[in-house]
Symmetry: C2
Subunit: 154 residues, 2 copies
Amino acid sequence: MTTPAPVLLPIGQMADATGVKVPTIRYYEQIGLLPTPPRSQGNRRLYPESAIQRLRFIRHARELGFEIDAIRQLLDMADQPDQSCADADSIARHHLADIQSKIARLNALGDEVRRMIVDCSQSSVRQCRVIQVLADHGQCLGDHLAEPIKINEK
Amino acid sequence: MTTPAPVLLPIGQMADATGVKVPTIRYYEQIGLLPTPPRSQGNRRLYPESAIQRLRFIRHARELGFEIDAIRQLLDMADQPDQSCADADSIARHHLADIQSKIARLNALGDEVRRMIVDCSQSSVRQCRVIQVLADHGQCLGDHLAEPIKINEK
DNA sequence: TCTTGCTTCTCTAGTCGCTAGAGATTGTAG
DNA sequence: CTACAATCTCTAGCGACTAGAGAAGCAAGA
């Protein structure tokens, strides 16, 4: 009566099972997001099936735009199911607020860029509305754009 | 009858005049976005007033979210006022499309995150909707989210 | 003249979340 | 035995800056 050998997956099958690329999995290990898995005799990573869940959790959170640090905290919470989930809620709310402010900013940008394009006479650069507006901030409606001089909206 | 000495500004005054930080101005020079200015005897950069216009152009374009490469092209066009502005128009249109797709993606993310939060029972992690949804992609409405596995929406 | 303090200089390294590539090794199928 | 695939480690690159060290220049006040 032997215990059944646990199923262990090489990194490529982990990638297939989760949709996370192989180098990314190694990267997550490197930054401490995934625990270091056991290795084969030939030094290959061999993951227990439980690692699939964890990696899917990470992938899903990344798809929803959570930052790595937030995911780290969420994973810690998921590991302690008896604790309060207020912190998880708070992280998600902060993230939502972040998303909303990015949307607002992008809407403002979009309006401005659309105006430039619509007004463009489609002739020479000399009369080009796009170039003119860029050259002279005064022609731009949105001074609100300039308020946070940070432009990391990507 | 001597020609009047041209007004030359040190980098700090350029920063004040344009709202672009000093290290950023040097960075723009380094990547070839701003021409290298003449230097004083003590090796300080001294900018002609015309550089203010160029730097303002750059800043405004960055505020509107244009990438450095696009700005490089727009600046080239602005320097050739007799050419057609079709390219400038095209760059702006591409940028607008980019903004719109980012907004669409962020709206989808926002919806999903909002659902997680609303459903959260605010009790223990074990019942936490936020954690549950992250752990199980199947509970998520948005399979569309997964389509482009790239998650560089920031 | 000396000193204090501000500005500027160059250079390197860090940010975030990966991605790409080199070059070596291991495992597997024919 | 030989291909070939998968994996290993390590380093460097992306974009658009930002931060910091350490040195040098410069103007005003004592």
